[in-house]
């Protein structure tokens, strides 16, 4: 499969997200129950889906890293988790705003989806101290992959446990007795989801490209200054990225 260039993919992302938001504001009907605030749904839910899928993708990369020992997969796993955590912040913020507008509270504790997402988010937030606490790069990469796999298995289990524990006041928009979303809303949602997934993929590739470029730069700089020793520059917890990491796998 031919991988599109980063620039073309970025353009496609802008187009899809632009089209999605245009549909949100000019095409999708107002929600009969919640009115205008319901439109945050088209941002909040795709963000959440992308963040959770990103965690699963990271677990997949981690498995490949452990099987092959290739640091490229560790770098991909790291970047996937990194971006999913950032998306996760977005999910919590938009979810809070939506909760405030429709339920009157910023946070509702007996709401399973909120709580389970928060737990997953907190778990993945510990990925950074974990990497930071292990100095040896090789071992750090291996342990980070073990964490990514364990946490990847944890994500679905956590949702089962928390959802069973509590009441269901979170809207179940796709599977309700009345048949779920009307067609125009579903179409808008799908475009937004596509745009958001493209955004996630583009950002992953962008970060990998940036990391490999800065690694190359520091290698060149060291060669220029005639230094053959010294630690690699850049942050200590980000994995070193070989130059071929920029293509997605």
């Amino acid at each position: 499969m031919k991988v599109p260039s980063l620039r073309a993919q970025a353009a496609a992302t802008v187009a899809a997200l632009g089209a999605g938001f245009a549909l949100v504001f000019f095409y999708a009907p107002l929600d009969a129950d919640q009115g205008f605030i319901q439109k945050i749904f088209y941002l909040h839910v795709p963000l959440a889906i992308c963040a959770l899928l990103g965690f699963v993708v990271a677990a997949g990369h981690a498995i490949r890293h452990l099987r092959t020992g290739d640091p490229v997969h560790d770098a991909r796993s790291y970047v996937s988790i990194h971006l999913s955590v950032i998306f996760g912040v977005g999910v919590l913020l938009t979810g809070s705003i939506w909760a405030r507008a429709s339920w009157g509270k910023w946070w509702v504790w007996d709401e399973p989806t909120l709580v389970s997402f928060l737990i997953v988010f907190l778990l993945y937030a510990t990925y950074y101290p974990l990497r930071y606490a292990i100095e040896d790069r090789d071992r750090q990469a291996r342990y980070a992959s073990v964490f990514a796999i364990t946490a990847g298995a944890f994500v679905p289990l956590n949702f089962v446990a928390v959802r069973m524990a509590q009441s269901l006041v979170h809207p179940r928009v796709f599977a309700t007795a009345e048949g779920g979303l009307p067609g125009s809303m579903l179409f808008t949602f799908c475009v937004c989801l596509l745009g958001m997934s493209l955004l996630w993929l583009t950002l992953v590739r962008f970060e990998l490209a940036a990391k490999s470029a800065s690694a190359k730069l520091s290698r060149l700089r060291r060669a220029l200054e005639g230094e053959t020793y010294g630690p690699p520059s850049g942050s200590r917890i980000a994995p070193g990225v070989p130059s071929r990491a920029a293509s997605p796998g």
Binding site: L66, I119, V120, L122, L123, T126, P129, L130, A133, I134, E135, R139, R142, Y143, S145, V146, F147, I149, T150, A151, A153, F154, L157, N158, V160, A161, V162, M164, A165
Partner: protein
């Protein structure tokens, strides 16, 4: 560690990982019996926490979800004490090196450590549960089935605990990292165990309605994380 009991696993470990498992487990339990490092500290911690709850909540009897929460939070934090210490002797005294030098499967070490942790937790609960009953319970009818729930909880604690403890043992900030990573991972166990226990500790005797699905979640968690730990353990073991 130059203890004579290492000799018991010597030639047998080469052919059979079951013998390696029993040898490591026996070694751990013997070390614990001689040094008394983990279990007495856990028991003391649990009893002190019950006293704190007793005066902090200012209640002479508890039932339902409050009782379940007090019991399980105490067991959880006591377990973290043991999980923190689980691999420290191996690391400080060179036990890892000895085990890696011997032709022993890594999963034997994993299973032995998990079994040792389960033994510690069972001993802890054997003391803590009666104390809990004396302090807080009006009726004792729910205590026997509660032991079964706690056993399933221990399995889950052991599966994730061993994995995280092994990761923590080789990091710089061990005491910080283990609870940080472990607590979110254990949330599903605590939810399922607390929901089962609150039915057993309900005021006016245990009720068994709806307890089955919670036990199923607990068992699902145990199986999943035992498998995950088994699958990835070789990669966290030092080479």
């Amino acid at each position: 560690m130059t203890s004579p009991e290492e000799g018991t696993g010597g030639p047998g470990a080469r052919t059979h990982s079951l013998r390696a498992f029993t040898a490591i487990l026996a070694k751990d339990l013997r070390v614990e019996l001689r040094t008394l490092q983990a279990v007495p500290a856990m028991v003391l911690f649990a009893v002190t926490t019950f006293v704190l709850f007793r005066y902090g909540l200012d209640r002479t009897s508890l039932s339902g979800s409050l009782a379940a929460g007090v019991l399980l939070a105490t067991v959880l934090f006591a377990a973290i004490l043991a999980i923190n210490r689980l691999f420290v002797p191996e690391r400080d005294e060179g036990g890892f090196d000895a085990i890696r030098l011997a032709p022993v499967d890594g999963s034997a070490l994993l299973a032995a450590k998990a079994a040792a942790l389960i033994v510690y937790l069972v001993v802890l609960e054997a003391v803590a549960l009666p104390v809990f009953g004396v302090f807080f319970l009006d009726t004792w009818t729910g205590v026997a089935p509660l032991a079964g729930v706690l056993l399933l909880t221990d399995l889950g604690l052991a599966a994730t605990g061993v994995l995280v403890s092994q990761i923590g043992a080789n990091s710089r900030a061990r005491d910080l990292l283990v609870p940080l990573v472990l607590l979110p991972l254990l949330v599903p166990v605590m939810i399922a165990a607390a929901n089962s226990a609150q039915r057993l500790l309900a005021a006016g005797g245990p009720s068994y309605g709806g307890i089955g699905k919670w036990l199923a979640v607990l068992a699902l968690y145990d199986v999943t994380f035992l498998l995950v730990a088994y699958a990835v353990y070789d990669f966290v073991l030092e080479d």
